[in-house]
């Protein structure tokens, strides 16, 4: 791995954060529609870290029992987008989305499907915004639900690199005292591709 790839210039760091921020802000607006109440966002963080560090960042403030809806994306750069929250809040989230009048059995029955669909709407809003900003087409896989600690969520695919670009934004839903985050994970070849695309984007903006 070359040093140039692993390091972002301050402007690239800023550009990655701003583009992710637009994506996640749109995603939060979709989540707000589904929940019927406001979703608060933190400012975005951008790091190039190993997977273990990413896992620790994910567990900070949420504990190690996590549930995530993840969706792969592929295009000029590829990676995964994840909607992550503490496992203990999964049923509560599902219940707030499908409405409070369902029995616990129904909520448990619907949990998997509701999580996948919620993740699908939110992550698509995020990724589609990023694709539009960069004027690139991205294909998105179907959502899958994973449970486990940070290391399980961020495990490398076979042959996958350990170093990843990790972009994340915390969200809080006040009334339900719910907390989670939206993360984007990309490996080194994608970081290099994304750097080029962002540099082109910056050049166009400077004209």
């Amino acid at each position: 791995m070359s040093v140039e790839v692993a390091e972002l210039t301050p402007l690239e760091q800023d550009a990655f954060a701003e583009i992710a921020n637009m994506g996640v802000s749109r995603a939060a607006a979709s989540l707000r529609q589904m929940l019927g109440e406001q979703v608060l966002l933190s400012v975005p963080a951008v790091h190039i870290v190993n997977r273990e560090t990413a896992a620790k960042l994910a567990e900070r403030g949420t504990g190690s029992r996590l549930v995530a809806v993840q969706q792969g994306f592929e295009g000029p750069f590829s990676g995964r987008a994840l909607l992550i929250f503490p496992e203990a809040q999964s049923l509560e989230l599902v219940r707030s989305i499908i409405g409070g009048d369902q029995s616990l059995e129904d909520v448990i029955d619907l949990e998997h499907e509701a999580l996948a669909e919620t993740g699908n709407v939110i992550l698509n809003a995020c990724l589609a915004t990023i694709a539009n900003v960069l004027r690139k087409t991205m294909r998105m896989s179907l959502p899958t639900v994973i449970r486990g600690d940070g290391a399980t969520l961020f495990a490398a695919p076979p042959g996958g690199a350990d170093l990843v670009l990790f972009l994340y934004i915390d969200f809080t839903i006040k009334r339900h005292d719910m907390h989670g985050f939206i993360a984007l994970l990309m490996d080194l070849p994608s970081i290099a591709a994304l750097k080029e695309i962002v540099q082109d984007f910056i050049k166009k903006v400077q004209k």
């Binding site: 637009m22 749109r26 966002l41 900003v133 910056i202």
Partner: protein, 127 residues
């Protein structure tokens, strides 16, 4: 009439995108950039600012808190909150503070429409 516009965004890229749109739409206007609420309030205290464009999600005071602070000094200044966060509460709060809302990703159409409305209001206020 040329105006001075304050652009507040913690992201340099976002300020560059805004400056680029101004070069196409209102190249003769003056832009003053601020990276956050403190700089923005400083600029308003020292420069004759006519219009403000303010990002929502910033470290420190957020965009709405900043608009509220600006309103104490400049109750009639045309202001737009600029954000991809299209949540009802945020748009409603902007409206309460008499600020417009412009969605990110920024388009020339949305910015142009706001600037036309803003110049009209500023001209009327002068009469």
């Amino acid at each position: 009439m040329n105006y001075t516009v304050l652009v507040v965004d913690d992201s340099r890229l976002a300020r560059m995108v805004m400056a680029s749109a101004f070069r196409r739409l209102r190249p003769e206007w003056t832009l003053v950039e601020a990276i956050g609420a403190d700089e923005a309030l400083g600029a308003i205290a020292s420069d004759p600012i006519d219009i403000a464009l303010i990002d929502f999600n910033m470290p420190g005071l957020d965009g709405l808190e900043l608009v509220a602070r600006i309103r104490e000094r400049a109750p009639e200044m045309p202001i737009a909150l600029v954000s991809a966060n299209l949540q009802d509460e945020i748009i409603a709060r902007a409206r309460e503070l008499k600020a417009a809302f412009i969605a990110k990703p920024l388009t020339d159409e949305a910015l142009g429409a706001f600037l036309s409305g803003a110049s009209l209001r500023l001209r009327k206020a002068k009469q």
